[in-house]
Subunit: 367 residues, 2 copies
């Protein structure tokens, strides 16, 4: 039995319920910019997956940013590539390099062998979720996550990161049947994976479509959004009587917000190229919005950080509308926090959001 | 005295005048995917700048794609970084690497010393333009170009390419005064540079805002678009009685098309994330549109290449409107052609555009 939630501001904002301040968390908030994270990572054999596969370490690093900053949500410490690793593609992280797969999907035979993995191979993730929930002891809600089917497919076909997505796009245009097979399997695997995270204690889930924005617009709909929709269609939306909000974030997806909102997501994540006020008009508060400070702002002076944070909040405006209903805004970056970010600038950011966001509500109340 | 133009389809489409087919050219059409280009480059000491600074070689490689394919425009063979090189930043291209500047702008003193360069240092560019015009002998029009003030500033501050634009964005948020000074000088230099290309014989000009799309939306307007506008305000729009069309291309700028169109550009370039039909509605044929095939399509089968090319043309629709007026479409890629592109796939692309685009007009005429 988990402890009752002491701070439900994040969940309330996701569901467009009244809040007294704008909740915030930061993508990749448990990460290399924190000295305590670097110490834990060294202790775990200087290995990212050493941290992620060990529930003790995963719990420790998940809580580190919460001990340092007044954040309104925790996010599971893990990687989006755990699912294809469990499919047998052989994930590794070279020193100073990005992820690599030993067995990328390059031909029809490899695609034919692909299947939804036995979730028992991902037990370490669900154990980490349970362990983190216990350690949080109701401080803030815990967010689970996965890569989107398309984003996973990019890595699975390319075998790692890419500048131009040549291999996966060649498959897309030349053998769309193979790519559709990968994406369908990915979608079913992601849905099962997220549902198991929810069963283990995740109180919200987020789908990271990190590479949706590299697709041609029709291809985005057919090869990314259609499979995010397939995940959404299978996703548990309630657990133990609680609504489980779902967040969909397509980096570079600013042209497709209405369609992303129509997947049934409770929250749409935005990168910094989007005008938050205009985005809100476009989706007309049918969903909450999450974002969207440029992570590079955190390299500016603390005064500039605070000013830019206020500008993001002002751009959304008061979550309470003139008609009395509420929209929802979750403050976040528009992408993961950079590893070289000065920790004291993050403190300036948190103070600015918690200091400024209540005043937006007072202005609306006085209206 | 240059020879009269035999194929003015490109210029007519830029100015939204009637055309019997959709003109096409390809960004970076003179480049490494062509075996004859690789041979010329070897002859020039295996050096990109060896080609670009020698009017004989620059002319030779500019004409190579026209000899191979039925393209409707030539584009000056050069690099966007010639201007900062002329400012004294010391451009070099390492083997297999991107461009590097020996003297990037990292502090107030370096920025204070920056000035619009003596155009005589760019004489090799204007000589190449004159030489190419003569060699073209009226076959097709010649496009001149420059990087946008913001895109040049990215390289000038970062000292080369970047994944995260950390240095230039830190300057943007912490010392906007320094960045505004760089951008103002860049804008005046770019305008003078493009005007000198026009004087030398360029029949259209294009501004490449390759990195506008990495900016936060308010920053895009203040630090990219405002300085593209400053270029446009100084640009010659006629030469020797001929209108000189101006094309503005912001990669990743799909959310800002209306504002880009309002700079006074004749043509707005689009990357492949934009729905061309929707873009046309948004700008309501006040400008012509250029684009927007994903260059990665060229790695698919020739049949798939042709199908995707037709889909791009169909997405724009007939350039002739129901009200009898004309919009304009120039077929292009949404970014430069990849160096590994198979040459025969480019042939399939050219045939598809020249084969399919006249039929769009017949359908409109029969309407």
């Amino acid at each position: 039995m988990n402890a009752p939630l002491q701070n439900d501001t994040f969940l309330r904002a996701c569901l467009r319920q009244p809040t007294d301040h704008t909740p915030m968390w930061l993508m990749r908030q448990a990460g290399r910019y924190l000295p305590e994270y670097r110490a834990s990572r060294l202790a775990a054999g200087n290995s990212f997956m050493g941290l992620a596969t060990n529930p003790h370490y995963a719990t420790e690093v998940t809580l580190q940013p919460l001990d340092r900053y007044q954040l309104d949500a925790a996010i599971l410490f893990s990687d989006i590539l755990t699912v294809p690793d469990a499919m047998g593609l052989g994930l590794s992280f070279g020193a100073g390099e990005g992820p690599k797969f030993a067995h990328p999907l390059r031909d029809e035979a490899a695609v034919a062998k692909l299947a939804v993995p036995d979730l028992d191979k991902l037990r370490y993730v669900f154990d980490a979720v349970s362990s983190i929930r216990k350690a949080l002891n109701g401080r803030v809600p815990l967010i689970g996550f996965s890569g989107s089917p398309w984003t996973l497919a990019c890595y699975m076909v390319e075998g790692g990161g890419s500048d131009d997505y040549r291999l996966v796009k060649t498959m897309l245009y030349s053998r769309p049947d193979l790519l559709h097979r990968i994406l369908a399997i990915n979608a079913d695997a992601v849905a099962a994976y997220l549902n198991a995270q929810i069963d283990a204690g995740a109180q919200a889930v987020m789908i990271f479509d990190s590479w949706g924005g590299v697709l041609e617009h029709r291809a985005f709909h057919a090869f990314s959004l259609a499979y995010t929709q397939r995940v959404m269609n299978q996703l548990k939306r309630e657990h133990a009587g609680q609504r489980i909000p779902a967040i969909v974030f397509t980096k570079g997806g600013g042209q497709w917000l209405e369609q992303i909102a129509a997947t049934g997501a409770d929250v749409v994540g935005l990168d910094w190229t989007c005008d938050l006020g205009l985005a809100r008009q476009r989706v007309d508060d049918r969903v909450a919005l999450q974002g969207n400070l440029d992570p590079m702002v955190l390299f500016a002076t603390p005064e500039a950080v605070a000013a830019e944070a206020r500008a993001v909040l002002d751009s959304f405006g008061s979550p309470q509308r003139a008609d009395g209903r509420w929209g929802g805004h979750i403050f976040n970056l528009g992408h993961g926090i950079n590893q070289h970010t000065p920790v004291e600038h993050v403190q300036a950011l948190v103070e600015a959001v918690h200091g400024h966001s209540p005043t937006l509500r007072q202005a609306a109340a006085a209206r």
